[in-house]
């Protein structure tokens, strides 16, 4: 399949999040052949799982819709989902990529009519809700999923559920005999837009994530605020489903910490500032948000947004790295212990819910790559002399806007390679 088509004129983009889609589309709209591979069943990546963006409070899927339309209208990008690179070999201008394709058990006859989901009884934690909610084991990842095709979760293969799904489909779209396969792609350049993953919050022991019921991460909080999310957009706390009106936002949860992530993840401050506005919108004047921070990093015109939030009477700021969180066993409330370092004020503050502004770490794992793809100590991709380039959060912790800039730049570097005109890099 794809392997035979691609040539050294082709650009391989790994990762179908906003950075990967951008790199692929920008290159294709310059007339280049692109193969875009994504390990999940749909494009869109993590930004799709955000409710809104700072500083405009606009909706990520609005941009996704535009990008999907660009994609549908452009035949130069070939998309492979459920596809992961296992190894890349070769050199600038001449790479060979081994791509593992996981079975979807649904072919492109699928019309997304949803009969299979109706037939299936088994449910799985919804990976597109950070496992907060549950969905049928035959599912469309989300309303904006591309390709707009259902997926059968491997867990039901061989079960009656799988047979029921097959029986329910009138278009012969359910194919239970699909097997994992590995394809080989010849490409000239590779853009690694493999994105980020939230740092494992359970490892930040004093905050008791996993131990205390009402401690969640900032990415989970996005899902709680999102009408498409598990609570239908109502900000309810996990322990008892009570309305979370008094919310603590704990900055640098994993970031700027040599016990965890050395680097500053850059987006967390803005993300928390944004999330205080979710709380305000949900509960009006009853809302209480407290941001516990070391430094608020609202860079360039994000400062305007910071000032707006500072002026919000429902939001307060405490310059303090919270020492530990304790749970009030009766109420399930969280009690934050620490010291406000601006003048030394000790606090034991009670909140309905604590949100950990969780750090970003690179998601790229266990792929054999040639040495011309250098990584820094944190696992971010650095500039190298080869024909492979990091884009977006694979290269540095970035907000969406900067990730897109980075991906656009990476697309040009890849074009230089396949155009075979690039001069010798001097780094």
């Amino acid at each position: 399949m794809a392997g035979s088509v691609a040539t050294s004129q082709t650009i391989l983009v790994v990762g179908g999040g906003i950075a990967g889609m951008t790199a692929a589309l920008e290159a294709a709209e310059c007339g280049k052949e692109v193969v875009l591979i994504e390990k999940s069943p749909t494009l869109g990546g993590r930004t799709t799982l955000l409710y809104r963006y700072f500083p405009k409070m606009c909706h990520p899927i609005c941009g996704l819709e535009i990008n999907l339309r660009r994609l549908k209208g452009n035949r130069r990008v070939r998309v492979l989902t459920l596809a992961e690179p296992v190894a890349v070999s070769g050199t600038r201008g001449d790479y060979t990529a081994q791509i593992r394709l996981a079975p979807r058990y649904v072919n492109d006859n699928c019309t997304a009519c949803g009969e299979c989901a109706r037939a299936v009884t088994a449910e799985i934690p919804n990976p597109f809700d950070y496992n907060l909610g549950r969905i049928k084991a035959a599912y469309l990842p989300h309303a904006m999923a591309y390709p707009q095709r259902y997926v059968l979760d491997p867990s039901i293969i061989g079960s009656e559920d799988a047979d029921r799904a097959k029986a329910a489909c009138r278009y012969g779209a359910v194919d239970l005999d699909m097997k994992e396969e590995t394809v080989e792609l010849k490409v000239g350049a590779v853009v690694w837009a493999t994105g980020w993953q939230p740092y494992d919050a359970a490892r930040i022991q004093p905050y008791g994530y996993g131990r205390l019921r009402n401690v969640v991460t900032s990415v989970e909080f996005e899902r709680l605020a999102d009408p498409r999310g598990p609570t239908g957009g109502r900000i309810l706390r996990p322990s008892d489903g009570r309305e979370a009106k008094n919310v603590a936002f704990i900055q640098c949860a994993g970031s700027r910490d040599e016990n965890h992530l050395r680097h500053c993840s850059r987006v967390c401050c803005m993300a928390s500032l944004k999330q205080t506005q979710y709380v305000h919108e949900a509960w009006g004047e009853e809302a209480r948000s407290t941001v516990y921070y070391i430094d608020i990093r609202a860079i360039d015109r994000f400062e305007d947004f910071y000032r707006r939030v500072q002026a919000d009477p429902t939001v307060s700021f405490v310059k303090s790295k919270v020492a530990r969180i304790e749970e009030d066993r009766a109420s399930g409330d969280v009690i934050l212990h620490g010291v406000d370092t601006e003048g030394y004020h000790r606090y034991a503050a009670r909140h309905d819910l604590a949100v950990l502004a969780i750090g970003m770490e690179p998601a790229l794992r266990a792929v054999e790559v040639p040495p011309d793809l250098p990584f820094d100590a944190s696992g971010f991709i650095e500039a190298g002399a080869g024909g492979m380039f990091g884009a977006g959060c694979a290269a540095a912790p970035l907000d969406v806007n900067r990730a897109v800039q980075s991906a656009t730049a990476a697309a040009l570097r890849a074009i230089q390679v396949v155009n075979k005109t690039a001069d010798v890099e001097t780094i």
């Binding site: 906003i18 589309l25 920008e26 709209e29 310059c30 405009k56 606009c58 909706h59 990520p60 609005c62 819709e65 535009i66 990008n67 660009r70 209208g73 452009n74 035949r75 492109d108 019309t111 997304a112 469309l140 309303a143 707009q148 278009y171 009408p227 498409r228 700027r256 050395r262 680097h263 500053c264 990093r297 609202a298 860079i299 360039d300 015109r301 400062e303 305007d304 000032r307 310059k319 370092t341 601006e342 003048g343 820094d376 944190s378 971010f380 650095e382 540095a396 897109v404 980075s406 656009t408 730049a409 040009l412 570097r413 074009i415 230089q416 155009n419 005109t421 690039a422 001069d423 001097t426």
Partner: protein, 738 residues
């Protein structure tokens, strides 16, 4: 061109066949729709169904295809027939999935489907296959304005991709700010020490590049034309003017340091021992040249203690200085403190900050400075005054919660970046501020000489997902002129801008639209003979694409056009349109709807929905099987800005009981992908009330809504509420006369 042959294909899949009489739909397509060929198929998007259509196109010479199946947003790969004109009737999401399954509902559901087939046929007959802009302009050269790090990078990266570049720099030398620096903040691990700027190598690579031509001491006298055919008058060092023909432009005109002279409270101007960051770089370069320590300006004594005041004249809440944060200054002060510490650890270096902002690996740079003994103090500086043998810095120590003063030989003010973005074209011509501004691009555009600015004078994009979308097609901002930034970001930004410039010339050459309708081959076609020179199109085009000729007729620069149709919506005499999207394609659909009489109690509501947000929201509502009224008829529009009021009046005249318009949020945080489209629509609809009154109609009969793509539940609710209101105020009195 071959004569028109229309064909309609009605899908029976996804339950359409069960819940609707596709037979009836087929008859309508044939008898009313006058389709030459009509076929029903159980599974149209399947290989066999698609094959059937292909065969008809090849064997039966079908030129126009109507797909009556699912939403135009679904199955686009299957229904991809590039050689024919295409229309889609949305029976699945638009009817089946948004209407109740109950038998008693079947009647209304069928009526709805029938109308969508009628509308599809009507649209199809008015549609032509877009063939691309015949005036495609093919100049692929790229102009870079500005010879600092951003400009040099953009030029080099574009050249490395194989493109010819001409670079214009107003100074007599390349390098910009970077050339004035002693060292720069490190880009790579270990992020521990200041690094060489590398500017000499960069300049050498640019000047030595065979595909790059450089003009020094040069400015732009005039820039006219469009992507693929810009003609730029450059005044060069000799004073002569040369003309450069280019296809696209990168504006990397950088920044000017905020005038520290406006900060007397911080001692600037009161003593030479208070400098800004540029001043410190100068001192550091002098010291390096002299091979000694940094000396203070007043008496040339070696600096034994230095204080860095962050956010000087920045993040200002009083409104008298810069309101924003320039992002790089914390790292820059850290770097400058290292100048001292690396030379002599005994020098006292204190950085007074309120929030230390060193994102990413900048944290390592911060740690490195602490390791070197730089002291960081969270505080607010009240004043800097000359003192015996140095400066006295009075500040509030926010940690120790006390007012203190400390003495230092030298004080460095971290002032901010002010963009060099030329003229603010939004200012009135008689505004003195505007008079003081010197244009940079000198665009010969009807809407002004420079690019529109977003905020605080920066030429940034408004879009999170599309940072390069300026409002002047083919002209891209890069570096600190777009947003305050450091050198590492400027390099990345300039590389991205270079790609967009390349993309712009490729699109122009192919006659394709640029973002957000990338690849769209349709373009505005004007019946100029009908034009009344009212100038609305030239004034309202969000992208300044339309100029005026000597006789004040509009000049459409197709490759500057984004195909939003705002001009079409604006045109009172309706002489502007696209092959596949025009006053007629939509008007015909409106008229095609079967209008029940006034006694039927079946109102008809026209919903014009923005295809970028409202229409997908409707699709997703259907995907969730959210039911809404069967009395609504939805027509997607490219942008609410393209809605011509004639559609509204036609609809009301032909008996519709109400018209809903759903577009994107406008105002400061607008989400309209065509910037001004929804705002203009809102403005126009504000004025439609008079028309309604003339017609003797209630103003409620036209309603405009801001709808976001996430308003999935809301769209259905809005429709039902509106229909309820219509039933409440009663059906339209116009019905009889239709």
């Amino acid at each position: 061109m071959a004569e028109t042959k229309t064909a309609a294909y009605i899908c029976q899949g996804c339950g359409i066949g069960e819940r609707l009489s596709t037979r009836q739909l087929a008859q309508i397509a044939q008898k009313e729709g006058k389709m030459a060929l009509v076929r029903e198929h159980p599974f149209l998007c399947g290989a066999e169904g698609v094959g059937l259509i292909r065969d008809d196109i090849e064997r039966e010479a079908v030129t126009h295809v109507l797909i009556a199946a699912c939403s135009r947003r679904a199955k686009t790969e299957a229904f991809h027939f590039p050689t024919v004109a295409l229309a889609r009737a949305n029976l699945r999401e638009g009817v089946l999935w948004s209407q109740p399954e109950a038998d008693e509902a079947a009647g209304l559901t069928q009526e709805m489907a029938n109308d969508y087939v009628r509308m599809g046929c009507a649209e199809l007959k008015k549609t032509k296959l877009p063939l691309g802009n015949p005036l495609a302009a093919t100049n692929r050269r790229i102009l870079v304005v500005g010879g600092g790090v951003s400009g040099l990078t953009a030029a080099l990266e574009a050249a490395r991709a194989g493109y010819q570049v001409v670079l214009v720099e107003k100074e007599r030398a390349l390098g910009g700010w970077a050339a004035k620096l002693h060292k720069r903040v490190p880009f790579r691990e270990p992020h521990a020490d200041p690094a060489d700027t590398g500017i000499e190598q960069l300049i050498a690579q640019v000047t030595g590049h065979p595909r790059i031509r450089v003009h020094l001491g040069a400015t732009l006298l005039e820039t006219r034309g469009a992507p693929g055919r810009f003609s730029v008058q450059v005044s060069v060092e000799s004073g002569a003017a040369v003309t450069e023909e280019v296809g696209s432009i990168v504006q990397a005109t950088g920044f000017t340091l905020y005038d520290a002279g406006k900060l007397p409270a911080l001692g600037y101007g009161k003593t030479p021992d208070v400098v800004d960051q540029a001043g410190l770089e100068r001192l550091a370069r002098q010291a390096a040249a002299a091979g000694g320590a940094i000396r203070r300006p007043s008496d040339g004594a070696e600096v034994g203690s230095v204080v860095f005041v962050q956010c000087a004249g920045q993040r200002d809440e009083g409104g008298s200085h810069l309101p924003y944060c320039s992002g790089h200054c914390c790292a820059t002060s850290i770097k400058q403190a290292m100048y001292f510490k690396d030379a002599n650890p005994e020098v006292d270096t204190v950085v007074i900050y309120t929030d230390l902002r060193v994102p990413g690996s900048g944290e390592d740079f911060y740690r490195s400075a602490q390791r070197k003994g730089v002291t960081f103090t969270k505080g607010r500086v009240a004043s800097v005054e000359p003192a015996s043998g140095g400066c006295k810095v009075s500040f509030r120590d926010l940690i120790l919660d006390e007012d203190v003063a400390l003495e230092a030989d030298l004080v460095v003010l971290a002032t901010g970046q002010v963009p060099n973005s030329g003229v603010n074209i939004e200012l009135a011509d008689d505004d003195p501020a505007k008079a003081a501004q010197v244009p940079i691009l000198n665009l010969a555009y009807r809407q002004g000489k420079d690019m529109p600015q977003l905020k605080h004078g920066f030429t940034d994009s408004h879009f999170i997902c599309f940072p390069y979308e300026t409002r002047r097609t083919g002209i891209y901002a890069a570096g600190p002129v777009r947003r305050p930034m450091d050198m590492a970001q400027a390099v990345e930004d300039a590389t991205g801008a270079a790609l967009k410039a390349i993309q712009a010339v490729e699109n122009a050459a192919a006659g394709r639209a640029a973002h957000p309708r990338s690849g769209d081959l349709s373009y505005p076609i004007v019946r100029i003979e009908g034009c009344t020179q009212c100038k609305r199109c030239t004034v309202e085009c969000p992208f300044g694409a339309i100029d005026e000729d000597e006789s004040r007729f509009p000049v459409f620069n197709e490759s500057r056009c984004r195909r939003c149709g705002t001009c079409m919506g604006a045109c009172p005499v309706r002489v502007i349109g696209f092959e596949n999207y025009s006053v007629d394609t939509v008007g015909a659909q409106i008229k095609a709807v079967d209008m029940p009489d006034e006694f039927s109690e079946k109102p008809r509501v026209l919903l014009l929905a923005c295809e970028n947000d409202a229409y997908p929201a409707l699709d997703m509502a259907a995907l969730q099987r959210r039911v809404y009224s069967a009395f609504v008829r939805v027509i997607p529009v490219r942008c609410l800005g393209s809605v011509n009021t004639i559609w509204i009046t036609d609809a009301l005249n032909s008996g519709y009981d109400g018209v809903m318009l759903m577009g994107c949020k406008h105002g400061e945080d607008y989400q309209c992908h065509f910037v001004k489209g929804s705002e203009l629509a809102n403005y126009r609809m504000g004025k439609i009330d008079d028309t309604l009154k003339q017609l003797g109609l209630e103003t409620e009969r036209v309603a405009t809504y801001e709808v976001a793509i996430t308003d999935v539940a809301r769209v259905a609710r809005l429709i039902d509420d509106y229909v309820a209101k219509i039933l409440e105020i009663g059906l339209s009195p116009m019905k009889g006369f239709a």
